[in-house]
């Protein structure tokens, strides 16, 4: 049996399969379908300081192997979240990764303070794909300085034993720059990736399909982009743990992220079509590792970066050096032309 435990910045989780923020609410609904204590952890929907209505509908559009969403961070605000959602997770004995979101550095700092030392919080995930209201709505995650400010504020206001993960956006020219800025600002790890900015136009109404015009693209469609981002970030920062996500549907997909350098993974959009997906992915991953004779999950993390074990001797095969015998003449004498 493979040892599935994984360590994220000093915290040990029993296995590497988590939910994704915004795709599992706070775990309670999914607990009807599977025991949420069986997975690595429940990543909760990004919570803001105050209650928030979110955007107008339509809020979603299905796209090829993906979907767009523009929820607008609807949520009850931190107080109700602590009272109802986190309390339930604590009661239930689930490992909670609390995702926080704000419109200013101060928002994030306050959110971290509210979570500080809460026994049910295994980890804090900082959703920096939010518009900075103090900077003309420029998204924090698109700018290393802005990202750094948010992460620093959260780190300073979070208990020492609680890892802080910054969640990166793929919508940037160089994701490693943002990754480094976050780590320099104190992030203990990185969540990679949030959705891609996308859009659908309804060809019947001839207007944008979403009330919010643009939305976030998720699902298997974006998996190759997500794997590339994990690969790049792990290559740039090999010692920083990564929670990988983006289109994971099967255990082999999860393995792909681990091989690229993730220490754990989140299953997001897939849950909408398959509410038991997290435990299924976990079982499939366990099976895949066993099949490959891997004793410890830790052994596959980043494995694809290492040079392959040569299956043929590296020295040039002598056959390749022999002159190519040209049988062309005899060939043309022998065969007809094809029409």
């Amino acid at each position: 049996m493979t040892d599935l435990t994984t360590k994220l910045a000093g915290v040990t989780f029993p296995n590497p399969v988590f939910t994704a923020s915004g795709c599992a609410a706070a775990g309670r609904e999914l607990d009807q379908f599977f025991d949420v204590t069986r997975i690595g952890g429940v990543v909760t929907k990004s919570i803001m300081l105050d209650a928030r209505s979110g955007r107008a509908t339509p809020r979603m559009a299905e796209t090829p192997s993906g979907m767009l969403n523009s929820i607008g961070l609807q949520g009850p605000g931190i107080d109700q979240f602590l009272e109802k959602d986190l309390a339930w997770l604590a009661d239930r004995g689930a490992r909670a990764v609390v995702s926080i979101a704000g419109g200013s550095v101060d928002d994030y700092a306050k959110l971290a303070q509210r979570l500080r030392g809460h026994p049910a919080v295994s980890m804090v995930e900082v959703n920096i794909s939010c518009p900075n209201v103090e900077d003309r709505g420029q998204v924090f995650a698109c700018d290393p300085r802005a990202s750094s400010g948010v992460v620093q504020a959260v780190r300073q206001n979070t208990a020492a034993g609680t890892p802080v993960f910054a969640k990166l956006s793929p919508d940037v020219t160089d994701i490693t720059t943002i990754a480094k800025a976050c780590v320099d600002a104190g992030a203990d790890g990185l969540s990679v990736i949030n959705t891609l900015l996308g859009m659908v136009i309804d060809t019947t109404t001839m207007r944008p399909a979403l009330a919010g015009i643009t939305g976030g693209l998720s699902g298997p469609a974006i998996r190759p982009v997500a794997v590339r981002c994990v690969w790049q970030v792990h290559a740039a920062l090999p010692d920083v743990p990564i929670l990988g996500m983006g289109g994971i549907r099967t255990g082999l997909d999860a393995l792909e992220f681990l091989l690229a350098g993730a220490s754990a993974v989140s299953v997001g959009t897939t849950v909408f079509g398959d509410p038991t997906a997290p435990v299924r992915v976990l079982a499939e991953l366990e099976h895949a590792l066993a099949e490959r004779g891997i004793a410890r999950l830790a052994d596959v993390i980043g494995l694809a970066h290492r040079p392959p074990v040569p299956s043929v001797p590296e020295s040039p095969d002598p056959v390749g050096d022999e002159p190519v015998v040209d049988l062309r003449r005899s060939f043309d004498d022998t065969f007809e032309e094809t029409s």
């Binding site: 915004g22 795709c23 599992a24 609410a25 609904e29 999914l30 009807q32 379908f33 929907k45 990004s46 105050d50 209650a51 928030r52 209505s53 979110g54 955007r55 107008a56 509908t57 339509p58 809020r59 979603m60 299905e62 090829p64 192997s65 993906g66 979907m67 969403n69 523009s70 929820i71 607008g72 961070l73 609807q74 949520g75 605000g77 979101a101 419109g103 959703n127 794909s129 939010c130 518009p131 209201v133 709505g137 949030n194 959705t195 900015l197 009330a211 919010g212 643009t214 939305g215 976030g216 699902g219 298997p220 959009t269 897939t270 849950v271 909408f272 079509g273 398959d274 509410p275 038991t276």
Partner: protein, 286 residues
């Protein structure tokens, strides 16, 4: 407590413009009440369609020869329902249900009017049965665009104390809308409560006509849903709570059945400014 069941299709029948599909889905029938819905996976294992499709539960049988079955009625609308319409008996179908909050039944044997539009009559027919069992008087109004989109005519006729029918093109029943006949039905039957399922515009009109008479009204709404189980927040609409405050409420878990007068019909598709937590500053797209 919904279940996820790898079901098997028992039968697919053409019913006018619709298809009625019966699926062996053990465990689901026992939990189902009128107004519950199902969410069905479409497209097969390598499909580009990730999301389930929602359908009101029409009929359930606790125990058939093959185990419990659920039946739903659907119209081909887009690519998912087109795929569904190509399924054949014995094909597998992954089903989650029962979902949502069902209709609440009256405590006493009161006079009930049911109003169904198009395939919206499907969940009302088992509701009618339940109401009859409680001794309610049941009057039914069915409307549709055309005769072939009127579902449940014969069954309603058999079961109802009275049945009124309208079609937009007059191909069966009265030429017009359900709202053209509903006031007379409500008055004549001395309706105590109204239940409705159908297009949003119809639900709104029914709500208004019931409210004018001070009659409570339950409606089953249809909002675009990504998950159907309460985790994604796509299916919301503005609903007034017991505290008088408006919230963007998930129609998959807090609905699809709502009190008609609590839904802010004018504001569906918007976030009214007085909604709890209404965004006033520019917002995130996630």
């Amino acid at each position: 407590m919904p279940l996820q069941v790898q079901g098997e299709i028992l039968s697919v029948k053409r019913v006018g413009a619709y298809q009625a599909m019966t699926v062996v889905a053990p465990g689901i029938p026992e939990l189902t009440r009128p107004g519950h819905f199902l969410a069905v996976q479409v497209g097969g294992p390598e499909s580009s369609m990730l999301l389930r499709r929602a359908f009101a539960i029409y009929d359930v049988k606790d125990r058939g020869v093959y185990g419990g079955t659920v039946e739903f009625v659907f119209a081909v609308h887009g690519k998912g329902t087109a795929w569904l319409s190509q399924r054949r008996p014995q094909d597998k179908l992954d089903v989650v249900g029962p979902l949502g909050k069902p209709f609440r039944l009256p405590k006493n044997p009161v006079n009930v009017t049911l109003v169904g539009g198009g395939y919206g009559s499907a969940p009302l027919l088992p509701l009618a049965t339940a109401l009859r069992e409680r001794g309610c008087r049941v009057d039914i109004v069915l409307g549709a665009g055309t005769a072939d989109r009127l579902f449940g005519f014969m069954e309603a006729k058999r079961m109802a104390d009275s049945l009124a029918v309208t079609t937009d093109d007059g191909s069966i029943g009265l030429h017009g809308r359900v709202s053209d006949v509903l006031p007379a039905v409500l008055d004549k039957s001395r309706a105590d409560v109204v239940y409705a399922c159908g297009p949003m515009a119809m639900l709104r009109a029914v709500t208004d006509q019931a409210a004018e008479r001070g009659i409570p009204c339950q409606v089953a709404v249809e909002e675009s849903m990504a998950c159907g189980i309460g985790v994604c927040m796509t299916c919301v609409l503005p609903v007034v709570g017991d505290d008088g405050l408006t919230r963007m409420v998930r129609s998959c878990v807090e609905g699809p059945v709502f009190l008609g007068d609590r839904v802010r019909w004018d504001d569906v598709g918007t976030v009214p400014l007085d909604t709890v937590g209404a965004i006033t500053a520019p917002g995130a797209h996630r």
